[in-house]
């Protein structure tokens, strides 16, 4: 009589990338057999069986842009609640942004975040290190020390703030290239966005909200592409929000710049038309823009000009959101709704198939974040790290029912397609039917 071991699993009747149904046998976290009519993996008496019933099997999702708020912002989210939200959303790895308190700009803080993530064990938590000390944009943080720490930081960003000084950005890119890490830029020229509250356009003008012009993003992206090209460094552009930025990226990629870019689910779906009631749940940075912009970023994602979808999951406790617009903090939840929004905006209109979904939510983000065991093919010898998706599982979003500590979802009451039925991390089921399994 052998006891059940974690990491042993039999998934039956799953359709990898929405294709032919197969069974997948997993031993010790690794796929050992893919085929029809499989029984428990060899040498395992009693593996857990996950009957997929014809659902779509994808590699586990990787989020390059998550705010887990711990340490310092535990009233809004913790690494535990954020990990739960991630696994329920089909994610198996998340990159935790450094704008915590204290800022993740030292080995001590990044190792703390990494260790907490590992203890909770629902999802691989990869801390993002700050580019500059205290996110102040002046002095470079110890990128090398963080990269070589146990947390093995692979991405650095001052997210929430732009590395504005061109000389600081240039040095960071040059320094990063030697470490083989990526600098992720929050592209916002703050001189053009002083006091900004909403996308500069017709809606904000009418509402009397100070405008955040798309040019403030476009100009920084153009500048950074030039700097990255010169340095031969890898640049990642966070949360691309405007059609103009897409044009800059297209040109830079054509010129051979090592630049990658992400778009958030909310910039794929929502526009500034949601602002008219002044509900700050719709306040986010960069701001929701126009229907033209959503159209442009969707097309860019479909064609690979924008590489990946990243959530910019930004929980805020109610006291930071249930205020007048100007006082509210920017940001919205995203982990548990990301797949549904991608299906709604990309799959349903025919812009992406399931292979494409795997590319933008898993494979490319794992490449950009240099994670060797994430975003892998569903094949023998590969890690059993999956999201099992019911494409027909439409659901109604309720912020209060989400796993995050905060409930600031902009999709409250919306009916969205596709449900994550199960998440598997190296053969271990971390979430199933809306419940996490530690």
């Amino acid at each position: 009589m052998t006891t059940r071991r974690t990491g042993d699993l039999l998934i039956t009747h799953a359709r990898p990338y929405g294709e032919e149904a197969v069974d997948v046998a997993v031993r010790d976290g690794v796929v050992v057999e893919v085929g029809a009519g499989l029984s428990a993996p060899a040498g395992v008496m009693d593996a857990e069986v996950l009957d997929a019933g014809g659902l779509v099997l994808l590699p586990g999702f990787v989020d390059l842009h998550t705010h887990l708020r711990e340490p310092g912002g535990e009233e809004s989210e913790t690494i535990a609640t954020g990990s739960a939200a991630a696994s329920l959303g089909g994610f198996t790895a998340v990159f935790a942004m450094p704008n915590t308190d204290p800022v993740a700009d030292t080995e001590v803080v990044v190792e703390h975040v990494w260790r907490r993530g590992a203890e909770i064990g629902l999802v691989d938590v990869h801390p993002v290190g700050a580019v500059t000390v205290g996110l102040a944009g002046v002095r470079m943080a110890e990128l090398g020390t963080m990269a070589r720490s146990r947390a093995q930081v692979r991405m650095f960003s001052d997210d929430g703030r732009c590395v504005h000084d061109p000389l600081v950005m240039r040095r960071a890119l040059e320094y990063a290239s030697a470490l083989d890490v990526v600098i992720a830029q929050h592209a916002e020229d703050h001189r053009l966005t002083a006091g900004a509250q909403a996308h500069e356009g017709v809606v904000a003008s009418r509402l009397g909200l100070a405008g955040w012009p798309a040019t403030a993003e476009e100009t920084i992206v153009a500048r950074d592409c030039a700097l990255a090209r010169e340095a031969g460094a890898a640049l990642h552009v966070c949360h691309v929000s405007s059609a103009r930025t897409v044009e800059v990226l297209r040109a830079a990629k054509a010129a051979g710049v090592r630049v990658s870019a992400e778009v958030t689910p909310h910039h794929l779906l929502l526009t500034d038309a949601t602002l008219t009631g002044y509900d700050p749940v719709n306040k986010v940075n960069p701001p929701l823009r126009t229907a033209e912009d959503t159209k442009a970023v969707r097309a860019a994602l479909a064609h690979g000009v924008i590489d990946v979808v990243a959530t910019d999951h930004a929980p805020h406790a109610v006291q930071y959101k249930d205020t007048e617009w100007a006082a509210a903090r920017p940001g919205m939840l995203g982990l548990q709704t990301a797949l549904s929004v991608v299906v709604h905006t990309m799959v349903e209109p025919g812009l992406l198939d399931w292979r494409g979904v795997a590319r933008v939510l898993s494979e490319r983000p794992a490449e950009i974040g240099t994670l060797p065991d994430q975003g892998r093919p569903i094949a023998v010898g590969e890690p059993a790290t999956f999201a099992l998706v019911d494409p027909d599982g439409a659901w109604t979003v309720r912020g209060a029912a989400l796993a995050s500590r905060a409930s600031n979802t902009p999709y409250e009451g919306m009916r969205l397609p596709a449900t994550v039925v199960a998440t598997v991390l190296r053969g271990r089921v971390t979430a199933r039917n809306g419940k996490v399994r530690a």
Partner: protein, 314 residues
């Protein structure tokens, strides 16, 4: 009408109804020694001002008092507001104290909308009923200012419909301009904006108005011109090179005022920067209706309180 948050809450009939009520209230009080109506006896009206404004606050207070409402003034200074209490908690506290109406002035655009939303949630939960009046929210709107301007134009010109009205100056940061453009258009006026390009909002071409490139070219055809205040901080914000250059391009000098037709009305929401956007002689000329605007302000605000508070709750 449950709240008055934006002039777009009002269609032409509702706006005209308010202006008619304002006229009738003015008439009912005309020549009386006792300027007191019993209409809002026992109703509590609270002004909640997060920005200094003697003019608007006093106008609302007088309006409430003339209708026998109990008026209470709360200002951000010297109250729990300055201790960091949230707008939501302050609003709900005033509702719980029995405020029938909260008149709010706040530096954040949309603050009145939020207060009204919380008030409605509270009503669903507890049955209390508090109306919210927007007395100026950030750079969004100031609906009672636009109503009093419309009342003044009706007095002076006989009607608003079909009239051409110029609005000159810092449209970008002006809640008065926003409320006026949309209300005057609703009432059938033709609105022309004249401003330096840096002080025109993005997307203004989708507003129900026209942008005139040059003030002198517009003045001879205007039935009224509304001069907006230029705030000191704009002068240092590189929106235009200097006060002198602004005054030369956009100030209503005596020579410029002479380009206006005989019957034209000069409006200013106050407080005025004499010598900057308007010459002292123009401000004091017979064509200027600036004090008439102030007088109408009380009656228009009485009308708003009447429509919000006198009838059965909706």
């Amino acid at each position: 009408m449950k709240h008055l948050l934006s002039v777009t809450d009002l269609d032409a009939a509702a706006a005209t109804g308010l202006l008619d009520t304002s006229d009738r209230l003015k008439q009912a009080l005309l020549g009386r020694e006792v300027r007191k109506l019993p209409t809002l006896r026992g109703r509590t009206v609270i002004t909640l001002f997060y920005e200094d404004s003697t003019r608007t606050r006093v106008s609302f207070e007088v309006a409430g008092k003339w209708m026998s409402a109990d008026t209470v003034n709360v200002s951000a200074k010297g109250s729990s507001v300055s201790k960091g209490e949230s707008l939501r908690d302050t609003g709900l506290t005033l509702s719980a104290m029995g405020a029938d109406c909260v008149i709010v002035r706040h530096p954040a655009s949309g603050a009145a909308h939020r207060l009204a939303a919380w008030s409605d949630q509270d009503r669903d939960a507890t049955g209390t009923h508090t109306s919210v009046v927007n007395a100026g929210d950030g750079t969004h709107e100031h609906p009672t200012q636009a109503l009093l301007d419309a009342a003044t134009l009706r007095d002076r010109l006989g009607s608003v419909a079909g009239r051409r009205i110029g609005i000159v100056g810092d449209v970008l940061h002006s809640r008065v301009a926003r409320s006026n453009v949309f209300l005057l258009a609703t009432l059938g006026a033709e609105v022309v904006l004249v401003a330096p390009p840096t002080l025109l909002p993005v997307g203004v071409e989708q507003w129900p108005c026209r942008v005139g490139p040059e003030l002198d070219a517009e003045l001879p055809t205007l039935d009224a011109v509304m001069m907006l205040r230029v705030q000191a901080e704009r002068m240092h914000g590189s929106f235009f090179p200097s006060a002198r250059e602004y005054a030369v391009g956009y100030g209503l000098s005596q020579e410029r005022a002479a380009l206006l037709p005989e019957h034209a009305v000069v409006l200013h929401p106050g407080p005025m920067m004499r010598g900057m956007e308007i010459a002292p002689a123009v401000a004091d000329s017979p064509g200027a209706a600036i004090l008439a605007q102030v007088r109408n302000g009380v009656h228009v605000r009485m009308a708003v309180l009447y429509h919000l508070l006198a009838g059965a709750p909706e």
